[in-house]
Symmetry: C2
Amino acid sequence: MAERRSWWGWGLEGQGPSRPQQEAIATGLAARFGREVTVADPARLEDLELPPPRIQAPESLAPLCSTGTYERAGHSYGRSYRDVVRGFRGQFDHPPDVVAFPADEAELASLLEWASDADVAVVPYGGGSSVVGGVECPADGHAGVLTVDLGRMDGLVELDRTSRAARIQAGILGPALEDRLRPHGLTLRHFPQSFEFSSLGGWLATRSGGHYATARTHIDDFVESMRVLTPAGAVESRRLPGSGAGPSPDRLFLGSEGILGVITEAWIRLQDRPRFRSSAAVRFERYSDAVAATRAVVQAGLQPANCRLLDEAEAASSAGSGGGVNLLVLGFESADHPVGGPMDRALEICAGHSGSAPDGVRSSGPEDGGGAQREGSVGAWRNAFIRAPYTRDALVAMAVIVETFETACTWDRFADLHAGVTQAVEKALVDICGGGLVTCRFTHVYPDGPAPYFSVLAPGRRGSEISQWDEIKAAASEAVMSNGGTITHHHAVGRDHRPWYDHQRPELFAEALRAAKAALDPAGVMNPGVLVEPRG
Amino acid sequence: MAERRSWWGWGLEGQGPSRPQQEAIATGLAARFGREVTVADPARLEDLELPPPRIQAPESLAPLCSTGTYERAGHSYGRSYRDVVRGFRGQFDHPPDVVAFPADEAELASLLEWASDADVAVVPYGGGSSVVGGVECPADGHAGVLTVDLGRMDGLVELDRTSRAARIQAGILGPALEDRLRPHGLTLRHFPQSFEFSSLGGWLATRSGGHYATARTHIDDFVESMRVLTPAGAVESRRLPGSGAGPSPDRLFLGSEGILGVITEAWIRLQDRPRFRSSAAVRFERYSDAVAATRAVVQAGLQPANCRLLDEAEAASSAGSGGGVNLLVLGFESADHPVGGPMDRALEICAGHSGSAPDGVRSSGPEDGGGAQREGSVGAWRNAFIRAPYTRDALVAMAVIVETFETACTWDRFADLHAGVTQAVEKALVDICGGGLVTCRFTHVYPDGPAPYFSVLAPGRRGSEISQWDEIKAAASEAVMSNGGTITHHHAVGRDHRPWYDHQRPELFAEALRAAKAALDPAGVMNPGVLVEPRG
């Protein structure tokens, strides 16, 4: 059973911190919070008593389907904090009745046909890493719920080296995708924190945020064409580098979160692997200087691949700055040419805003053999980054509240948004948890505004963690929205963001989307509860 | 009457070549084509006999409306070749019954309400520069046609210098827009050939192609948010630098060509005015080398602002190369830093593909006072570029067929597309006109493919020019489509591209778009015949 996916938490079973490591973390947190922190044990699979399946797949589809406890429990939730807490407790009130694993589009079409005919809700499932309730099963309104796991549709179908693009099936996970591209010297370079256990189809359905901090920030920008299987049939756009022929068909399905159909494959734009790199960490005493410098760098058109501004709290907690300093982490990269020029200019701009880089610039290129070495170092950071969810799960065992939320806003509103959100969350943490920490970094930056990403850490009350977090999240979301932010820059809407999304998106756009859904999903079975309610 | 817009041709009355200049052009073309070329006179406004208006605006709206011959004739067509030929002949079979000029959204809403109630087709009209029949009046199916000219809604409403963005009304034309931004040191830098007589709203509704040859090629990329007045009400998206909250509302309206509603204003991302420039013309003997070099430059991530590859025929006809050479015109620009580095690297790449730049590189920056001078030279080129439609109209008077078409395709398909399209059009020209010229240049270039733009020049038969061009266009479009291109990269679909667009866009996407249209335009009056037929 080694290498089996955890049915309640992140990633693979047995990959998180060991029990002694957990105890050490608990001791550290107890000192930090000034209260006792204990480590509990997760529920056991064999103790779970799931409600019996309400539906049964037709005989012809039975071989693709499972009603086993491990599969149903494992596909009940995404991997947000509230998901993992429920999984840890063994609380599975509304698991999918059936989990299907189609191997190809014909099998998928049969599943959608059955679901439409039998009023079975369909939840498309890629890697299962949603943090917004995107793969959670609706409690009622349908005869039952069928979760469709795309994991078997994971091939690289075609590769065009000349145009640097590949046709790839939606169910492929990040590492397998990069493994298939590596022999061709190509990469997608899409590294969300969920990289190891999120899929191409999931990235497309949720408009995932990727590797590049500037310019091409979302997976959207890398789509040449898509193929989507809807209950009404297949939709396939023409493979094109650019077009102006009517509203973009792809843009209707990018971010559609499974409510219109299942993305089955896409032609994706690829990159040559970077050979030149340059990185630096710039320190600022005042946050306002750091923000102004970041804005100036991106408005100068420099397009760093990495442009991560950590506020004082974030620099202390995640970069060990020792406090009193805001940190702008800059990185440039290229497969073709040295990137020292833009880095020098960026540092010059930062210096004009009282920013200094005491550790200097680390550059590497193929000629000094530094490429591989830097890849190693970047790889090490990336590994730590993508292993963070395991640590998060360990904190769940300690009843610690640990979650993130993110937004984007225009520069003119950012100072108020940062202050307003920080204040609102700090107040909520005091009121609800007796204290805690909220920190902020930029994940992506645009000429007209940043995408701030907030992290929260607080002592929870065992058994009440979810309602505690829900209150904190509501306070945070109110502050984000009233300060002109988006309810999500790259985490999607799902079911959890609905109240604020419903406020954000124009009502008549929702009406148009409902109408489009009614045309493509006449039975209204696709991922109900996400984005919009079907027409009554 | 000076400065009045021409009711049959491009731009302002009396701005084209003089009669002696026209006679000189005719003599030159006669020698080129080996046949007589004569100059005819356009129809006279006072001789036009338009069908009487079939509808009458309600009294309350009458002050906004005109039924004058000048207004109705002038709003009958866009400014494609077939439009100008018909205007020149005085052929106005289906003019709008009424032309309205709302001054604000309340007036516009009243017009849409009347139209929806009275089954009057509404044609939104910005600058009237469509080359695809986008503003042409449907012949039947409605009680009448109301063309809504947005020209009075042309204000700059709000400007955010920090985020470099402005809220601008849709009816503003290119030059007025730049005039309003100049005092703030900002520019949109969107210069389609129609710049002088096309509007922001028109650019948005048609996904216009702009100044930048790479990266941010369409107006789409500069939209922070939009406001659209539909018959069902207003749709306004939130102003954001980026978002991942569901399918993008703006992307439904970008390219919607007036079928969902009227774009009334948008928050648009702006640029600082460039101060550093570098340009060069690289010569290649073999076209395949030139194409490979262009691909390598853009795949290297260099992002030139100008990257125009002229094939041999185009280099001879529009750059006076003398023949035997393909020309890649490269330009880099920045408001912040010198651009010699990327230019040097681009030339190095070109040299690796047997390209040479015998005239060297022309660079300028603020320190050598060259900024203004280069702006002057670039300005001169731009003036010639945007005055070209006047010359086109003079050729119409000579019964010469002169038109362009454009597409985009992935690199792996380009060689076949270029050969196939050139061959198909050359054959059509011989068959239909006894000869003529077809040339190709790239207007925009992507890492995964170019956007080729073809120009056609041939002797027409007076009275048959339109059917002759329609045959040539059909042959060209068939070749574009069968070689994997898009029917339009930035000229839009309108009514003229419908047969090929209907083939290109996935049928179920059209179904979704029809459904969205039915939700926003329940009476089905918005720009009928464009993009999709309303639901029956």
